[in-house]
C-alpha cells in the first residue's frame, strides 16, 4: 500500500496514494509545485554543496574533505523518500531515472557489513558510533529506511531497498542484544525500523525498534549542555508526562513509540504517548499548531511558555507532529488528531514553503518584529534567521522534510474501517477504495477554506450500507449536513458527522462549515499573548503585516477592537484597529502606562501561511486589544 504507515491494528486504516488522488485546490497545487520545483531545488543544493558527493568520496576510499554537517546524509535520504513517493504518485520516468542514479551513488558508499555513513568510520575520521549523542548515525539510517519504506511500497524491491535491508540488518547486529546498549541522540531510527519491519515483514526490525524505545530514558547517553531531556533520555517513554526537550526528537520518538505500542499490543505505552501528546497540545502548542518554544535548544518550553516572537515552531517539528498525530488517529480514531493535522498543515507546513516552492522557513514564529530583507540568492542562511524565506540553510533539514511530506500528503486525507470511509481533510479529491470487500468510490468538491461547502459525491458503491464520516472541526459551530435524500440537519462541532446509507452512484452529501472569520482568545496562563486576540478563518490563522498598515506602520503600533467582528471586504478579512505613534524616549516602566488614542483604521489581515510574500514586513498573529 502506497502510504507511509500501515499499522497491524487500530481503529482506522490508511489509504494509499493510488486510492486517494488530489484533483485540484491548494494541496494538489502544493504537490505539483513540490514535484516541479522543490524536489529539483533540493537536488540542486545537495549537489552544489557536495552533500551527495560525500558518498562518492566515501566510496573512493582514503581520507577526504567532507562537506556539510554530521547529519547531511539524512538530507539525501529525505530527498530520496520524497522522490520515491512522487514516483509512486505520478510514475514520472525522469524522476525514476534520477532516483536510480542517486541509488547507485549511495550504494557505492555502503560497506561490506552494511555500515553506511559519510561522517564516521573513514580514514582520518572518528570511528563508528563514538558520538551517539551528537553524531546522528542512527538518525541517518532512520531516514534511509523511511525512504526504503516509500520505495518498497511504491515500486517494490530494488537496489535501493536492498541497501536499506543491509543497513537495517547492520543496525540490528550492532545495537541488538549483546551489541552497543545505547540509543541515538536524535530519535528517528525507532519509527523507521518499525515501519521498515512492516514493509518487509521482518520481525527483527520491529524488535530492534522496541529495544530502542525501551532503552531511551535510561541514561545511556552522556549528559550534554542542554541536559538529557534534550534527547528524551531523562525519563523512559512509558513514564514521561509530557513531550519535552528538542521538539523534532520528541515527536519522532513519540511516533516510533506509537508504532511499537500498536505492533506489540502495548496499550500502556500507547496510553503514555497519548497522555504526553494531550498535555503538549493543551499547554505547549502555538495557535498555528507549531510546536517548540525555545531557540536555544529547539525545544518544547515549559507549560504555557508560548511567546509568539520567540516561537521556534520548527518546520520539521510540524512534519513530525503530523506523523505523530496521524499514528494516533489511526490507532484511536480520535478526530482531534485530524484537527491538529489540519491546523499544522495549513499554518506551519504550507507556510514554510513559498508559493514557488524554492524558499523555506526553518523557524515559524508568530510575531516578526523587524522588516528583514530577504536572504541573498544562492547563499546559505542561518536556520533561525529573519522574517523572510531562504533558499537553503546551514542546517537544512526542513526543505527535504517538507518535500517528502507534500509528496505523501494524499495519504492523510481519508481513512477506512469496516463500515465505511472517514474524510479528515477537505480538499478536491477522488477516493477509490474497498470497504468490507466491495468497491466504494467518492469524489470531493470544495474550495475550502475560502468557502465552507464540502460536497461529497458517491462515484461507486459495490457493497450495501456504508457509513460516510465527515470531520466537523471544533470551531465549526453551526455546521449543517445535507444527506443524500436532501434532509438537512445541524451537526455538532468537534464530532464527526456520520451519514449511513445504502449509497448509490450520484448520491451527494453536503457539509456546510461556517468559515466566517472569528476572534480567538488564549488560555489566561499563556503569558506571551495575554491581552491579545487572534483572528482565525476556518483552519487558517491570520496575521497583520506592516505592509498593510497606514504608512507601513510597525505592527508594534497596532491595537484592535475585538468587540467588533472581523469582516470580509474585497476578498480580505479586516479588523477594527487603532494605529498609534508612541514616543520612544525614557524609562519604559512607571506608575501609569503611557499611551495615545491612536488613529482608527480598518486593517486587512493575511493568512499566516502567506506572510512574508510581499517584501520585508513586521508581522503579528496575536493582536493587542486596545
Amino acid at each position: 500500500m502506497k502510504t507511509p504507515v500501515v499499522p497491524e491494528r487500530g481503529t482506522l486504516r490508511p489509504l494509499g496514494l493510488d486510492e486517494v488522488r488530489l484533483t485540484a485546490g491548494h494541496w494538489a497545487e502544493r504537490q505539483a509545485v513540490n514535484a516541479e520545483h522543490t524536489i529539483r531545488h533540493c537536488l540542486h543544493w545537495l549537489e552544489e554543496l557536495g552533500w551527495i558527493a560525500n558518498f562518492d568520496k566515501a566510496a573512493a576510499g582514503g581520507p577526504f574533505e567532507r562537506s556539510g554537517r554530521e547529519f547531511s546524509d539524512s538530507e539525501v535520504y529525505k530527498l530520496a523518500e520524497a522522490m520515491a513517493w512522487e514516483i509512486g504518485r505520478t510514475g514520472d520516468p525522469g524522476l525514476e531515472e534520477r532516483f536510480r542514479a542517486l541509488t547507485a551513488r549511495i550504494a557505492a558508499a555502503q560497506e561490506e557489513d552494511g555500515y553506511l555513513n559519510t561522517m564516521f568510520g573513514h580514514p582520518g575520521r572518528r570511528p563508528r558510533y563514538t558520538d551517539l549523542e551528537e553524531g546522528h548515525e542512527l538518525y541517518c539510517y532512520g531516514h534511509l529506511l523511511q525512504a526504503g519504506v516509500a520505495r518498497l511500497r511504491c515500486h517494490g524491491e530494488d537496489d535501493f531497498t536492498r541497501l536499506c535491508r543491509r543497513a537495517a540488518d547492520h543496525v540490528c547486529e550492532a545495537f541488538g542484544p549483546g551489541g552497543i546498549e545505547k540509543v541515538c541522540g536524535h530519535a528517528e531510527i525507532e519509527v523507521a525500523l518499525a515501519e521498515f519491519g512492516r514493509a518487509t515483514g521482518e520481525a527483527r526490525y520491529l524488535e530492534q525498534a522496541r529495544l530502542f524505545i525501551e532503552r531511551r530514558g535510561t541514561h545511556t547517553l552522556a549528559d550534554g549542555g542542554f541536559g538529557r531531556v534534550y534527547f528524551q533520555d531523562d525519563v523512559p517513554v512509558r513514564d514521561a508526562e509530557v513531550l519535552r526537550g528538542h521538539a523534532v526528537r520528541a515527536l519522532y520518538l513519540a511516533s516510533g513509540a506509537i508504532d511499537v505500542a500498536v505492533a506489540t499490543g502495548d496499550d500502556m505505552l500507547l496510553g503514555a504517548v497519548r497522555r504526553q501528546w494531550d498535555r503538549a497540545v493543551s499547554r505547549r502548542t502555538h495557535l498555528t499548531g507549531g510546536m517548540g518554544s525555545q531557540y536555544t535548544d529547539e525545544a518544547f518550553g515549559a507549560d504555557f511558555a508560548l511567546t509568539p516572537d520567540r516561537a521556534y515552531a520548527e518546520s520539521c517539528a510540524g512534519v513530525a507532529a503530523v506523523q505523530a498525530a496521524w499514528r494516533l488517529l489511526l490507532a484511536t480514531g480520535d478526530a482531534s488528531c485530524a484537527d491538529m493535522i489540519e491546523r499544522i498543515a495549513w499554518n506551519v507546513l504550507s507556510g514554510a514553503v513559498d508559493p514557488g516552492g524554492r524558499a523555506f522557513f526553518y523557524a515559524n514564529p508568530l510575531h516578526q518584529r523587524t522588516a528583514d530583507e530577504p536572504p541573498v540568492a544562492g547563499e546559505l542562511s542561518h536556520r533561525a534567521a529573519g522574517g523572510q524565506r531562504a533558499p537553503w540553510f546551514d542546517v537544512s533539514c526542513c526543505p527535504t522534510n517538507l518535500a517528502r511530506t507534500f509528496a505523501q500528503f494524499a495519504s492523510y486525507v481519508a481513512t477506512v474501517d469496516d463500515a465505511g470511509v472517514q474524510l479528515h481533510q477537505f480538499t478536491p479529491a477522488v477516493i477509490d477504495t474497498v470497504v468490507d470487500g466491495a468497491r466504494f468510490a467518492l469524489s470531493v468538491a470544495t474550495v475550502y477554506p475560502e468557502d465552507g461547502d464540502v460536497i461529497v459525491r458517491i462515484e461507486a458503491n459495490d457493497g450495501g450500507e456504508r457509513a460516510l464520516s465527515l470531520r466537523v472541526p471544533p470551531w465549526a459551530e453551526g455546521a449543517r449536513l445535507t444527506g443524500p435524500d436532501g434532509t438537512v440537519r445541524d451537526v455538532e462541532a468537534g464530532r464527526p458527522a456520520v451519514v449511513t446509507a445504502d449509497f448509490a452512484a450520484g448520491d451527494e452529501i453536503r457539509l456546510e462549515l461556517p468559515v466566517e472569520p472569528r476572534w480567538t482568545l488564549p488560555d489566561p496562563r499563556i503569558d506571551g499573548v495575554r491581552g491579545c486576540a487572534a483572528v482565525e478563518q476556518g483552519p487558517l490563522v491570520l496575521c497583520a503585516e506592516s505592509v498593510d498598515l497606514p504608512g507601513g506602520a510597525d505592527v508594534a503600533e497596532l491595537t484592535v477592537d475585538a468587540a467588533a467582528a472581523p469582516v470580509v471586504r474585497d476578498g480580505r478579512v479586516h479588523v477594527s484597529a487603532r494605529v498609534h505613534d508612541r514616543d520612544a524616549a525614557g524609562w519604559p516602566y512607571g506608575p501609569a502606562a503611557p499611551d495615545d488614542e491612536g488613529k482608527t483604521a480598518d486593517i486587512p489581515l493575511v493568512p499566516f501561511r502567506l506572510r512574508a510574500t510581499r517584501g520585508p514586513a513586521s508581522m503579528r498573529v496575536w493582536l493587542p486589544l486596545g
Copy 2:
C-alpha cells in the same frame, strides 16, 4: 587614585576606595562576603578545574592537555583584579601573598615578546591570532590589563604591572599600524587599553584603543552563525543607532568607546554611544535593569522584545552596564545613569550572588516557570540552567566578574566637581575628599531602602561654600529635603537636590525618599508583560514565589488587583490576589478565554535579589492583572 575609571575630562570626577569607605549596610556586607567567601570560592574553582594550572603547563613548554574554554585565562585575570581592588580596600596581607603567588604563575607563561595566552600558540595548538572571531585572545588581554589598572592604582608598579605592560606593548605591536588589521570577536581590549593608558600615562595604549574602536563595524571579522551584529562588527560604533548583538560585548564596547571619546575630545563618538544607550534603556532593558533578551546568542533582542521568562539579563551584562553607565555619568553628569546603576546593582548584581557568596546566577530571568532543584554540590552547571544559583558554570564568566565589581563598589557611590560632592548611591559610608583644594568630609547614615531617610553629616569642611548634591530617584515623588538650618522643602523626583552652604562639621542634611511599595506598569508595546503589573519598593523590584502561595500553588495560577495599593505587613510587602486552580485539558485557544473566579488571598512578595533563597520555587516579577 584607587578607582577603575579616571577620565581626562568630564562633568564629574570619581573618588578612590581611599576616599569612600562603606561602613555598614547591604553593600558593606556584600563587600565583606565577597572578601571572605567569593574570592576564595573563585580561587578554589580555578585551581580545582585547572584553569590556573594551564599557565603552569604553558610555562613548562611542550604540548599539554588544557582545561576550560578558550577564554578561561580571563577568569584568572578577573579574579586577580578582584584581589587587587580588595587589597587596595583593606590591605589584607594574606590576599597580597596570594596575589604575588598568582602573579608568578601567570608571568612564567608569558613569552619573550609579551604574548600571553594558554589556548593558542603552543605546540600542538592553533597559532596565535588565527581565530579572532571566537578565540578571545585580545579579550583575555583586556581583563589582564584591567587587573593591571587595579594593581597600579592600589599598589603601584610590580611584577604584575610589568607583565601587563609587556602584554600591552605586544598588542600594540601586533595590532597597531602595519599589524593585523582586525578586532577581537569579544570587545574588552578597548576599554582596558584606554584605562591602562591612563594609569601608565602611555599614549600609545589609548591610541591602540582608538584604532580598535574605529576598526569595529568595518567587517574585519568573518560572519559567524549569529551574524556580524553578534560582535558589533555590522556597523561602525559612531554610526550605530542602538546597543545590539551580544549584550556583554556591546556594553564593554560602549564603555571603551566612551573612554576613547572622552580622552580624544570626540563629542560625535560620545553622542553616538549616548544615543545607543538611551534607546537601549527605553526599549531593550528589563525592569530589573537587566539587559539581553535572547538565550541563543546572549544578545539584546529587538525593541520591546522583553519577555520575562526568557530574559537572559546575564550577570556579566549587569557588570558591563554599570561600567557604561558610570562612564556616561562621569562624562555628562546625567543622574539617570546613576539611577540605572542603582537599579542594576540592587536587582541584577546583588541577586546574582547568594547571601553566602558562593553560588551564582548567570542568567537572571524575571519569571521562573518551574520549581527547579538546586544544582549538585561540586558539579559544574550549565550557564543558562534553572531557577537556583550554582557554584560554578561551564562558562563561568559571572562569578569573577561579580567579585571584581563588589570589591570596587565604593567607587560608584559618589563623585566630586569643583563645587562639591554628588551622592549617587545611598548607603552608610564615610566620604573624605578634597574639593577645590580643601578637605571636605561627610558621613552617610541610612537603612535605605528599607527606610527612605538618608542623613548626611558634614564631618569636615576646610573650604568655604560647598554644594552637596543628592540624587533623587525618578520614582521618589514627594521626596523632601531638610537643610542644615532645619528648613524643609519638597524636592523634585528625577533631579538632583542640591544644598549649597558654607558647611561646618556637624551640619546635617536629611533626604526623605518615599519607599512605600508601588505598582509599576509597562509601556504598552512590551508584549511579554502586557496585562501585568509589578511591585517596586524604592530601587527594589519585588517578585512572587510559589513558596509564599497558599498550598505552594504555581505562580501561573496567580492574578492580582492593582487597584489596591500594596501594603507592608509584618515587614513584608503584600498584594491583593486571586489564586486559581484552572483546568489543563484541551486546546487552549477558543472564542472565550476560560477562567475561574479563584480564591482571594493576600500574597507576600520578596525582593527579586532574594529570590530562590528558600528552596525550589516558581517565581514571577510581572503579575497578571485579574
